[in-house]
């Protein structure tokens, strides 16, 4: 009875969400979503009060809504005209259904609008079957089949969940929005093995293998707006290991990624058939104290191109970077954030001079790096309603789209800034 009630609510909301997405008026969208969500939470509360059987916990519905304002001065990170923008919308709705003690179905739909940062619209964020293959007091082993989220980096699984990530805009070096749709997850198989004990602490080991579909828009965003052919991801294999020593405030992690792509030229194309390989390694650490929090990721990426510009063209490029972040709890509800990140596309050309020379001045030196100093403030209004604001001082255009054929006409300055505010609600 209860689950039926909830299922009906879910179906109703999903159909409302589907109807909403094509509509143009953003403000109406957001308002309607808030109303739907509020109605939904009260429905759930009512359902919980009226009945609570053993089956009631098997179906769960959660979601979030957030809307912000963002103003970028000196780059096309969000829009081309540099005006204040409301293209900072993130909406999500997820459901989890426990079939029995071994199997669970889960899925989430998100609607994102980030201007130039990524494609605007709704997408299936994850849709998976979770098989709890083994479980005892210390061990847990799960296999996930379907579309799963990248859970390997510090904030990769929560990058679209406004209240679960540390800032409105994440460090672009690791969480580059231009690569978001490819990096956020895959269709395939993943596993998570966890061990927890008083002697050794908590271990989480994850492996995943799959592919992500690449839209034409993404192909143009990443490669060039003149790319007429189709890009495909052949594979994406990742693994990561996290360890929190017993009763420690620290946690350490590492991750490895290799992904292969092919480009098939079209009959009329500026570019040629190509193979791309992307490798990415990270080390991370996190300290969670009562008032202070520190986190950081250090990483190296290797990108190889075979073909594309002309048959037989070869490129082997190693980029590096890191970010360090600290959060301090000013009060129970207010948290201050400070972060510094430094990234360069080529470890042998940190100031981008070779990049400028090799392109005959077409691509200015500052496209070779990205440095960002961020200051932010988060205020938790209630247990599930927060407000956030932040300011970024950025040096360099190394993390702007399109990647391969940059746009120095709009991005004509080495220094640029942005500020953003965001309201977030979740249930």
């Amino acid at each position: 009875m209860l689950s039926k009630l909830k299922t009906n609510a879910a179906v109703e909301v999903l159909s409302k969400v589907n109807n909403l997405f094509p509509s143009i008026n953003l403000a109406v969208n957001i308002k309607a979503m808030f109303l739907v969500a509020m109605g939904l939470t009260s429905n759930l509360a009512y359902a919980k009060e009226t009945n609570s059987t053993s089956g009631s916990q098997n179906f769960q519905l959660h979601g979030f809504l957030s809307q912000g304002l963002i103003d970028v001065d000196g780059s096309d990170f969000v829009n081309d005209d540099g005006e204040l923008s409301a293209e900072l919308t993130e909406i999500g709705l997820n459901a989890s259904y426990k079939i029995n003690n071994r199997f669970r179905l889960a899925g989430q739909v998100v609607y994102l609008d980030g201007g130039n940062r990524y494609a605007q619209g709704a997408r299936v964020d994850y849709a998976l079957l979770d098989w709890s293959a083994y479980s005892d007091d210390n061990w847990q082993a799960n296999i996930y089949l379907g579309r799963f989220k990248n859970n390997h980096w510090l904030y990769s699984s929560s990058r679209d969940i406004p209240f679960a990530r540390p800032s409105i805009i994440l460090p672009q070096s690791v969480y580059f929005d231009g690569f978001r749709d490819i990096a956020v997850g895959s269709d395939g198989i993943a596993s998570k093995i966890s061990y927890s004990s008083d002697e050794y602490g908590d271990f989480d080991w994850q492996i995943s293998y799959g592919t992500s579909p690449i839209s034409d828009e993404q192909t143009k965003n990443i490669l060039s707006e003149y790319a007429q052919g189709t890009a495909e991801q052949d594979y994406d294999s990742q693994t990561s290991l996290y360890w929190r020593p017993a009763f420690s405030s620290w946690r350490f992690g590492m991750s490895l990624l290799e992904a292969g792509f092919t480009y098939d030229q079209s009959a009329q194309d500026f570019f040629y058939d190509a193979d791309f390989v992307f490798q990415f390694y990270t080390l991370n650490a996190l300290y969670e104290g009562e008032l202070w929090e520190f986190s950081g990721e250090v990483y190296q990426q290797r990108f190889t191109i075979d073909g594309f510009y002309f048959p037989g063209f070869n490129l082997d490029n190693v980029g590096q970077g890191f970010y360090l972040q600290s959060r301090y709890k000013l009060t129970d509800k207010m948290t201050l954030l400070v972060r510094y990140e430094d990234f360069y596309l080529d470890k042998d050309d940190k100031d981008g001079k070779e990049l400028e020379e090799s392109t005959g001045g077409q691509v200015p030196y500052y496209f070779g790096f990205h440095k960002d100093v961020t200051l932010g403030l988060n205020y938790d209004i209630t247990s599930n309603f927060s407000a956030r604001m932040e300011y970024h001082w950025v040096k360099g255009a190394g993390r702007l789209t399109p990647v391969v054929a940059p746009n120095p006409q709009i991005n004509n300055s080495e220094d640029w800034q942005m500020w953003a505010i965001q309201l977030m609600y979740w249930f």
């Binding site: 959660h62 997820n94 964020d125 005892d136 699984s157 004990s197 009763f247």
Partner: protein
């Protein structure tokens, strides 16, 4: 009876960990409790599923429970739970809005675990005692019925779990 005797033996604590009366695990270690609340242990020792209930993260009782009993800051719990809920990896505890709702959820949901502050638990026991008196009065003419009902009620509405170091 069992419920009352536990209360007499244990020194008065600010809050208690309670489970559904059918949960067989009456003793938990501190680390087991941490594992249950960080969703690293999802089944009781008889392999039945654990259903975890919590109050909203800004609720005073929740904050005390996290810090005193789990020795984890509430914001750390939120992070673990948000990650599970919004990335599809797993299931987080069910949040209820008030202490009354929480205790009702624990009473009604097999496999449930939750927390309650000691005065509320004592009130609940007192109420239970009153109910029994009423019950006794109502059914005093039907002796057999009274006996069986009293036995059933004697188990207590919830288990109070002993937490060992």
């Amino acid at each position: 009876m069992l419920l009352l005797s536990i209360l007499v033996i244990t020194p008065v604590l600010a809050l208690e960990i309670v489970t559904h009366p059918q949960v067989i695990d009456n003793n938990l270690t501190k680390s087991q409790l941490r594992r249950i609340y960080t969703m690293r242990q999802v089944n009781w020792s008889d392999n039945s599923a654990i259903t975890v209930f919590v109050l909203p993260s800004q609720h005073v009782l929740h904050q005390r429970f996290a810090k005193e009993r789990l020795q984890i800051f509430p914001y750390q719990l939120n992070r673990i739970w948000h990650k599970l809920t919004y990335s599809g990896l797993g299931v987080a505890p069910t949040t209820v809005q008030s202490e009354e709702e929480l205790i009702q959820a624990v009473i009604k949901t097999p496999g449930a675990i939750g927390y309650i502050d000691t005065p509320s638990l004592q009130k609940l026991i007192a109420k239970e005692k009153d109910d029994k008196v009423t019950l006794t009065q109502v059914v005093s003419q039907e002796n057999t019925v009274m006996d069986s009902k009293q036995k059933e009620r004697g188990k207590g509405v919830v288990n109070v779990v002993k937490i060992k170091d």
